[in-house]
Amino acid sequence: MSKDNQILEELTSSEYKYGFETLIENDSAPKGINEDIIRFISAKKEEPEWMLELRLKAYRHWITLEEPTWPNVHYPKINFQDIIYYSAPKPRKELQSLDEVDPELLETFKKLGISLEEQKRLSGVAVDAVIDSVSVKTTFKKTLGELGIIFCSFSEAVREHPDLIKKYLGSVVPMTDNYYATLNSAVFTDGSFCYIPKGVRCPMELSTYFRINASGTGQFERTLIVADEGSYVSYLEGCTAPQRDENQLHAAVVEIYTETNAEVKYSTVQNWYPGSKEGKGGIYNFVTKRGLCKGNNSKISWTQVETGSAITWKYPSCILKGDNSVGEFYSVAVTNNYQQADTGSKMIHLGKNTNSTIISKGISAGKSQNSYRGLVKIHKRAENARNFSQCDSLLMGDKCGAHTFPYIEIDNSSAKVEHEATTSKIGEDQIFYCNQRGIDTENAVALIVNGYAKEVLNKLPMEFAVEAQKLLALTLEGSVG
């Protein structure tokens, strides 16, 4: 080979290399936040002008706000100029078989009882044609399409269904709602949109599992669910698999809107990276979730199992505007090691004969801090409103903390509001009793904790419940004895 040829080859390959890098740079924004970054995000998403205007408006409001300090959590101040606000999903390395996957991850999958095919999907192994997720998605989309149900990524919805987005976006969580919701409104990168037309009962659980572009959704996720008159949908968020996302800050917004006689059931299993055993790293999960029971006789039900994140800060809430509307909140929040959670619910009763239920089960282990914070507000026009709240705390060991901050504001004397709270400890007596029957301590803790959280776990859809149970046990593994 001539020398010239060799040089030529070197040159071309290095050129290719640089070209490639430039391409990557183009696909993510530089660190920090300003109006240009927001324009960049909007342009990347090929958004219409009105969407960009909304984002800019949110940003201009956000810079006037102060970061809230009232939650019972402690962390170093976040440098918002040190965050990358847009990064296109990284193409995952396609693995050929499960042998190439981190054995520790596989071990966890096994403990969670996730099927082999599911394991492949989650760890990014190519799945063979028969159960190809594309075909699953296709049949799925067809069934939904025939019923007029819209279920797509948020970006797609902005392009394809602008009227619905314009009408409902920010109708439940206004852009100016709170520090993190406002930030989200400015910089959200993607999420899900779901619309159930009049009188349609969605025949399957809708889950981010099936959603196109499900992987690689950003740290600022936006979800909007609209249930038109007389419709019903059960929506599942999250994945029980231990995906380790290293993003520090997650500030998602979820809005649910129900018209007359509509019902939405929203279930979450949150398992973000909780940080190391020594409390290093982990996700800050600062989420705004709210539902508006706009129409009479409508119903919104939140069920959450929270085991992940270094810091969780969220209060899925219901505004009961329609007469006879119903709001429910069922929660299990587990904290271990150095995790901190400040979570609960708000039930705002505006309509007559509105009814709300809050069942919160906190579990603290290690050196973690777990707070329930809730508000029940009965407006002066809300005749015959009724609320039942039950907040239980379970402590494991003597270095963790459980706190309860229930707020009740009643402006109508016909209201009936009940609040019950208990604090208990996993007793050595209980564990010894199980041991004496041949059950080891790990399984004993799993039994006791799942028994304690049963009321909430029972509200989860079947497949989800089984995984959530195992997840609880996994999270608390090694925290006793």
Partner: protein, 253 residues
């Protein structure tokens, strides 16, 4: 089956057992009696492996193995069962789930496959009728809100399900009315075989009217001070424990 040699044990630094010697063979029923605070329940807890109790001296051999080195769950898996004086409540956990977990962990220890749902439910039904326990009780959360009698009956039901080699009944008669006592005793008697053994720990003789012991031992101040057959229990019922105390304290001091 069980050989206890010179067993000393303390709890929170206080010596409770001061040299227990006892041998139990398959097919036998032993009653351990004694006044309050004599160490009866301590003995039961030490055998089961309760952590707060420290064995300071002596040996315990169960089916040829030194069990003092085994964890409580492994002792249980080897076939040692303790019917608790105060059974513990576990809210939200059904008897079904609890026993299935226990049974399968025991089976796993022995290298057996987990028992499938059909066989498990069959065994549940069988044993429920054997110890005369109501399905309604089994469906509820384990021991939660059970009356004293219901808890004790549930202990015997668990014993029936797990089929231990050696069952220790710790004050199983306390808090039972006469009908409950009869049902519990009946259950224990039905479970008795030539291959297993029972230790009945009790303060009163009345349980021994129903569960007839082969041997009766009197525990006092951490030692077995008198052993005999059923007639010893009768004697205690008539005369109380004072004559034994005088006997022992006289000798000791």
């Amino acid at each position: 089956m069980l050989k206890i040699k010179n067993l000393h044990a303390s709890v929170a630094g206080q010596q409770i057992l001061k040299g227990i010697n006892l041998e139990i063979k398959a097919g036998e029923v032993h009653a351990i009696m004694g006044p309050n605070g004599s160490g009866k329940s301590t003995l039961a807890s030490v055998l089961a492996g309760r952590e707060e109790y420290e064995v300071t001296e002596g040996e315990v051999e169960f089916l040829g193995k030194n069990i003092l080195d085994l964890s409580p769950e492994d002792r249980a898996r080897e076939g040692l069962f303790l019917a608790f004086q105060y059974p513990v409540e576990i809210p939200g956990v059904s008897s079904n789930n609890f026993l299935r977990t226990a049974l399968n962990q025991i089976r796993q220890y022995k290298g057996l496959e987990p028992m499938d749902a059909v066989h498990f439910l069959k065994r549940m039904k069988e044993k429920m009728s054997l110890v005369e326990i109501d399905q309604k009780l089994i469906n509820r959360s384990l021991n939660e809100g059970f009356s004293g009698g219901e808890k004790k009956r549930n202990e015997i039901f668990q014993m029936a399900m797990l089929e231990p080699k050696l069952a220790i009944l710790d004050e199983t008669d306390s808090g039972l009315d006469i009908d409950a006592l009869r049902i519990v005793a009946n259950g224990v008697n039905k479970l008795k075989s030539k291959d297993n053994a029972t230790i009945v720990v009790t303060h009163y003789q009345r349980l021994l009217d129903y569960i007839v012991p082969d041997f009766v031992h009197v525990l006092y101040k951490g030692r077995i001070v008198k052993s005999g057959d059923k007639s010893l229990a009768m004697e205690l019922e008539d005369k109380g424990y004072d004559w034994i105390k005088v006997d022992v304290d006289g000798v000791v001091s």
